[in-house]
């Protein structure tokens, strides 16, 4: 019987060679296999590993940078996804790559740097992967004593008390130099919080206070964080949560924190070395999504509500009216199949439609302790990566920026293709669809100086043009989004697709 190498040789360079049948899901993915797929499916460029630790270039500008837009868009995502011939099998596993797009009247300057986590440092020294990963079973991986040993710092960005952080989900934040993107250190907000899970979507409320949660799968606890505007710890607490699921984002209102626990439960297998952390989770479609409501002023005061099984990666915003009714919105999917399967398929070059979330609203009446949910807008529209004008964070918002795609539009890359501004009151949507060769990433709302919230400003985000093999920064007028970019800054190279960013205005 011929082995896979012989079969590949026999099939030669035929287009049929790219057939996904050659890559059974239970086989270890190799970098060479990915390169072969990339030749046939150019959109896979978004999942190509970085091959250097630092990138720097001036972008080529078309259009004009609008007056008043002055600052840096920091973005984070997986960058280094290969070590030699070893290739991670899940999009979420690559070592973090921090990017900075400095936008000013003279144009856009770009930097990108692999975050110097302990994991990256040790594995670079060893010349091979050492530690377990979220979605890849790493052969021979060491057992770890703390999640920070496998911390890739690859999900999102936090800017608070004049400091910049690269965030992961299950461990500590890494402090990053905002000018050079060099890694300063693993950050502890206080001695007692050392090594505790600090999730990737902390919220900063109107008073500048920072709120976050973290989850520990092993301890079956949720950790709740509250820091003052100077980054000093105000409160730190742990709440029992058994099972703990895999909550990714949460809601902060004037008085409450809201955390959704989807029924994706950790069930440790006997052979933990042959299964990734993700593979040891099981989705229970017949069990409830549990919703924890916690008082901001007293973490001990909390209660639970339930909804049917559902999966929300990202919420847009949450707020609470004077009568005690909480409202929030999120990109809701019926299950986590995108994370469980599709983001692995995509790393193998298997075409898959990853979009399965539609925007929903949620209402919690804290007086009657009841929760209800409803759809928002056209349910033929797939949404993800919702963001808001940062000035309405944790307060009533009327607008939402999100990536979208019409459900019946098929893309070769299986991701979203448009950026939209959703009016939450009228449920109307203004949309700009990027050219078919561009894959948009998260877009953020940048307010115009001295403007009223959710009025004048710019919607700014990156795209990967996989035909031209370049990444681009796009600037759109928030009040004329459907007209498309008013300025585009094109890099001389392509960056891997990432996750989340934050804009930091120049003082």
């Amino acid at each position: 019987m011929m082995n896979r190498r012989e079969l590949l040789k026999l099939l030669g360079a035929s287009p049929l060679l790219s057939t996904d049948l050659l890559w059974a899901r239970n086989e270890q993915l190799t970098a060479q296999q990915f390169r072969t797929q990339l030749g046939n499916k150019p959109w896979l460029l978004g999942y190509q590993s970085t091959n250097q630790n630092y990138y720097r270039a001036n972008a080529t500008l078309s259009g004009r940078i609008p007056k008043g837009l002055n600052g840096t868009l920091y973005r984070n995502g997986p960058g280094k996804s290969e070590h030699g011939e070893f290739r991670y099998e899940h999009w979420f596993d690559g070592d973090g790559l921090m990017q900075a797009y400095n936008i000013n009247s003279s144009g856009v300057q770009h930097q990108a740097r692999i975050t110097d986590t302990a994991k990256h440092r040790h594995e670079t020294e060893a010349g091979h992967v050492i530690y377990p990963a979220f979605g890849t079973a790493v052969p021979g991986a060491e057992n770890i004593r703390s999640p920070d040993q496998m911390n890739t710092a690859n999900i999102s960005v936090l800017s608070h008390h004049d400091r910049l952080f690269a965030l992961w989900e299950a461990g500590s934040a890494h402090e990053i130099d905002p000018d050079t993107l060099e890694t300063k250190a693993l950050h502890s907000f206080s001695p007692e919080s050392e090594g505790l899970p600090f999730s990737a979507h902390p919220k900063i409320d109107a008073s500048g206070h920072l709120w976050n949660f973290g989850y520990s799968t092993v301890a079956r606890k949720l950790v709740l964080w509250h820091m003052d505007p100077k980054g000093a710890m105000v409160k730190l607490s742990a709440i029992d949560c058994d099972p703990v699921g895999m909550p990714h984002d949460f809601i902060v209102t004037h008085s409450h924190l809201v955390i959704m626990i989807p029924p994706l439960y950790f069930e440790q297998t006997n052979d933990t070395h042959s299964n990734s952390f993700l593979a040891q989770h099981r989705w229970y479609s017949d069990r409830a999504t549990r919703i924890l409501i916690v008082r901001k002023d007293n973490f001990d005061e909390h209660y639970w509500l339930e909804l049917p099984a559902e999966w929300v990666f990202h919420f847009g915003n949450g707020w609470e009216d004077e009568s005690g009714v909480i409202r929030f919105d999120g990109a809701r999917a019926s299950d986590p199949s995108a994370m469980q399967h599709k983001f692995s398929d995509i790393m193998r070059g298997i075409h898959t439609d990853t979009g399965n979330a539609h925007h929903h609203s949620y209402r919690i009446d804290t007086r009657t302790r009841r929760i209800s949910t409803d759809t928002i807008g056209d349910q033929n529209i797939i949404t993800e990566f919702p963001t808001i004008d940062p000035r309405v964070s944790c307060k009533q918002n009327n607008q939402l920026v999100c990536l979208t795609r019409k459900q019946d539009v098929q893309q070769g890359h299986g991701l979203l293709n448009s950026v939209s501004l959703l009016n939450l009151k009228s449920e109307s949507m203004t949309t700009y669809t990027y050219p078919a060769s561009q894959i948009p990433e998260e877009h953020v709302f940048i307010p115009a100086p001295l403007s009223e919230p959710e009025t004048k400003g710019w919607i700014v985000g990156t795209t990967l043009d996989f035909e031209k093999q370049v990444s681009m920064l796009n600037i759109l007028d928030a009040q004329a989004l459907d007209a498309g970019p008013i300025a585009m800054a094109t890099l001389p190279y392509a960056m891997p697709l990432g996750f989340h960013g934050k804009f930091v205005a120049t003082a």
């Binding site: 060491e142 057992n143 520990s216 606890k221």
Partner: protein, 140 residues
């Protein structure tokens, strides 16, 4: 006070052969970075006691010394597993953070670690057959 007397008694008892046939188990514990506090050692001879923090067959508390210390005891031949910790603040417990991750150095026989929590008996246990010397590296 009663607890420390009990620990001391158990420690002294391990200096005496427990059975007619006894092998010596000598542990080298390293790397001890601080001479503060005590190194606390517990030896188990069965899975349930090991897993459920039941009664050890030998315990000891030794004053910490850098960079390593030795501990010797006599035990009948058989299967054993060792848990130990450097109790730097001498509060007789392993300090952990809010989600149970140790904040003081600790170690297990076979230098094993668990993937999701402490290592299982199967990974940490070893056969005492004749005089045996083991080195246990503290996990910091």
């Amino acid at each position: 006070m009663m607890k420390s007397i009990k620990i001391l008694f158990l420690a002294l008892s391990t200096l005496t052969p427990l059975a007619a046939q006894a092998d010596s188990l000598e542990l080298k514990i390293q790397v001890i970075k601080s001479a503060k506090g005590k190194v606390r050692i517990a030896v188990y001879d069965n899975e349930s006691a090991y897993t459920e923090d039941g009664k050890p067959v030998a315990v000891a508390e030794l004053k910490a010394q850098t960079p390593s210390i030795y501990f010797k005891t006599e035990l009948p031949p058989g299967l054993y597993a060792v848990k130990l910790m450097h109790d730097i603040d001498d509060n007789k417990k392993l300090n952990v953070n809010l989600v149970g991750i140790p904040k003081e150095p600790y170690g297990f026989s076979n230098n094993t670690t668990g993937r999701f929590g402490p290592p299982k008996w199967k990974a940490a246990s070893f056969k005492l057959e004749g005089n045996t010397n083991l080195t246990i590296d503290l996990k910091h």
